[in-house]
């Protein structure tokens, strides 16, 4: 199967992609439980998608915490509510900004990588060769990558949240003589399970769909070298869009449930 016009976002293509990704999803679930799990490849993908993204996410997280604190501090200081700063920054990072920004970064780095890699394998007919040699390419290439992104993104978000917390502390410490204990106490003063669990579940879905969409775009990319770039590009664009869609649904559900 090949995507008809991967570089165009027309309605027909959109519906076809939705159908294709849904099929891809069920195929993934079926393959996950039916076929042998490629553990070695899964670890390899975890390393590439998770560990190798840590530096990018970490730097971004520190800057995110720092920037948010520096930006919000004067407004809250004017209101006389500077004491709320740690709490406000930490909750916004923990519930919304962290998961979404880190997922977008992850989609940019890992999604495009998966799309381009699988697409190049498709172009160079390596996937076809695997099929011929009785190796299940879907199980080896797609299941491992989707599983790895599903597990690695939440872990990256945990790291990112922690580093953003430190970044916020550094940002506030530069302006006021606040102790770490007081900062920690204020940051956690209004954090509840209802903030942590929906955010964590959301990031699991983000990771899953980034892996699934990127794999789909690469797995069914067009022929030729241009197909590789287009697949990488489509993987990032579609993943980013889906991240916001999932975020919207998650906010609605969280609001209903809490």
């Amino acid at each position: 199967m090949e995507r008809k016009s991967p570089n165009k976002l027309n309605f027909e293509q959109l519906l076809m992609d939705i159908a294709g990704i849904t099929t891809f999803l069920f195929r993934y679930i079926g393959s996950l439980f039916r076929n042998r799990f490629e553990g070695r490849e899964f670890i390899n993908q975890c390393y590439r998608t998770g560990y190798q993204s840590l530096l990018l996410v970490g730097i971004t997280a520190i800057i995110l915490g720092l920037v948010l604190t520096i930006q919000i501090r004067p407004i809250l200081a004017d209101l006389g509510a500077e004491a709320w700063l740690p709490n406000m920054v930490f909750i916004s990072v923990l519930t919304e900004m962290g998961p979404v920004i880190f997922a977008l970064l992850f989609a940019g780095k890992v999604g495009s990588g998966i799309g381009a890699e699988l697409s190049s394998m498709r172009v160079t007919e390596q996937i076809d060769a695997m099929e011929v040699s009785a190796t299940n390419p879907f199980n080896y290439l797609v299941v491992t990558r989707v599983s790895a992104t599903t597990i690695m993104l939440p872990l990256l978000v945990f790291f990112g949240d922690l580093l953003a917390f430190f970044g916020s502390f550094i940002g506030l410490k530069a302006y006021s003589d606040i102790s770490f204990k007081l900062f920690y106490s204020r940051a956690f003063s209004e954090v509840y399970f209802r903030d942590i669990f929906p955010a964590t579940i959301k990031t699991i879905f983000f990771g899953f769909f980034i892996g699934l969409i990127a794999s789909y775009m690469g797995y069914y990319s067009g022929k030729g070298t241009s197909g590789v770039g287009k697949a990488a590009n489509a993987a990032v664009v579609a993943s980013s869009l889906v991240i916001f869609l999932i975020d919207l649904i998650a906010v609605q559900l969280t609001d209903i449930l809490t």
């Binding site: 390899n44 975890c46 560990y51 872990l155 990256l156 945990f158 790291f159 956690f188 954090v191 399970f193």
Partner: protein
């Protein structure tokens, strides 16, 4: 192979650390929400919880000692809230503690505040229900402020009308500000007051100099001596009066007996009774005397009887005179003188 092993180790470390962060976050939030201890559950019933939510803090004297675990409606539309209190802090929550709902600053979330009970009170126990104090709502305050502002508007409009009347010169205050004769009168009055004060000054000078009666009162030492003596006499009089009253109180003398002796009062009572009966008898007698048929009435009222009596008395007087003369004549007779001489000798 070595590279793959290295990757596996790095992934392992990465996953472990990531999970450790997650577990730490769970632990910290759980500790804050008091999930890992064995909390003491106490409850309270409110008419209005003002937006309180599950997980909100419970504070005692400003220290967080627990969380709100559940909120539910009761049959009478009141709200039943259950709180999980930290076991080690429960000792400080007494059975007579009261619960109210406050907020963490103007923009903060709601908190349940426990107002401390008596120091030596009994600590709360599991499933106890604490008494509640309903706080004044900000809406009620705003409503009061609204009423006050309306009243202020009315007062200010009335003040405007008053000041207009004053400006026009209506009424007493208007005259104060507009009438020039009033100011002239006030001017005269102040001049008079000045004159009076000058006179008073002169008077005080004279008093200081000891002139006149008042001056002597202040300056003459003999007068003060006389006053002193008079006061000493007064003192003596009061002492004597005190002694007299003491004696009366002790029952000494007639007055003392009058006030203290009950037998005297009894006697007086009997005497008054007797006097009453005597006066009754006298009244009867007087009635009888008034009666025409009685002899006494004749004596008192009848003039003919009085005339007859007078004639009788005159006749008696004349008779007596005649008898006396007769007796003298007899004494002067020789026979009688001889007889009387013999009698004297016998004695």
């Amino acid at each position: 192979m070595k590279k793959k092993l290295q990757r596996s180790i790095l992934v392992g470390i990465f996953v472990t650390l990531g999970l450790a962060i997650f577990i730490a976050a769970i632990y910290l939030v759980g500790k804050k929400e008091n999930l890992f201890g064995s909390p003491v559950r106490v409850s309270a019933i409110f008419n209005d919880v003002k937006g309180l939510r599950e997980g909100n803090k419970v504070r005692l004297s400003g220290i967080d000692i627990g969380t709100v675990s559940s909120l539910s409606f009761m049959n009478d539309n009141r709200v039943f809230i259950q709180m999980n209190l930290e076991e080690e802090q429960v000792l400080y929550v007494k059975k007579d503690s009261k619960v109210t709902i406050g907020s963490e600053g103007l923009m903060g979330s709601k908190v349940v505040m426990i107002l401390p009970g008596t120091i030596d009170g009994i600590p709360v126990q599991e499933y106890d229900t604490l008494q509640t104090v309903e706080q004044v709502d900000i809406d009620d305050i705003l409503e009061e402020v609204n009423k006050s502002s309306q009243n202020i508007a009315v007062v200010s409009s009335e003040l405007i009308s008053i000041t207009r009347k004053i400006n026009r010169g209506d009424g007493v205050f208007g005259k104060i500000f507009t009438d020039t004769t009033l100011t002239q009168n006030l001017d005269d009055a102040t001049r008079n007051i000045s004159y009076i004060t000058e006179n008073l000054y002169d008077l005080s000078e004279k008093v200081n100099a000891g002139e006149g009666i008042v001056g002597k009162l202040f300056a003459d030492t003999t007068l003060t001596g006389d006053i002193g003596k008079a006061s000493a006499n007064m003192d003596e009089i009061t002492n004597n009066l005190r002694e007299i009253t003491d004696k009366i109180n002790q029952g000494q003398g007639i007055f003392g007996r009058m006030f203290t002796d009950t037998s005297l009062t009894n006697n007086l009572y009997v005497t008054s009774k007797n006097l009453q009966s005597t006066t009754g008898s006298l009244m009867l007698l007087a009635d009888k005397m008034n009666n025409d048929s009685s002899a006494l009435n004749l004596l008192i009222d009848d003039p003919t009887f009085a005339d007859s009596l007078e004639i009788l008395i005159q006749r008696l007087n004349r008779g007596i005179v005649e008898a006396t003369e007769a007796a003298d004549a007899v004494q002067r007779s020789g026979l009688i003188r001889a007889f009387s001489k013999k009698k004297k000798e016998e004695k």
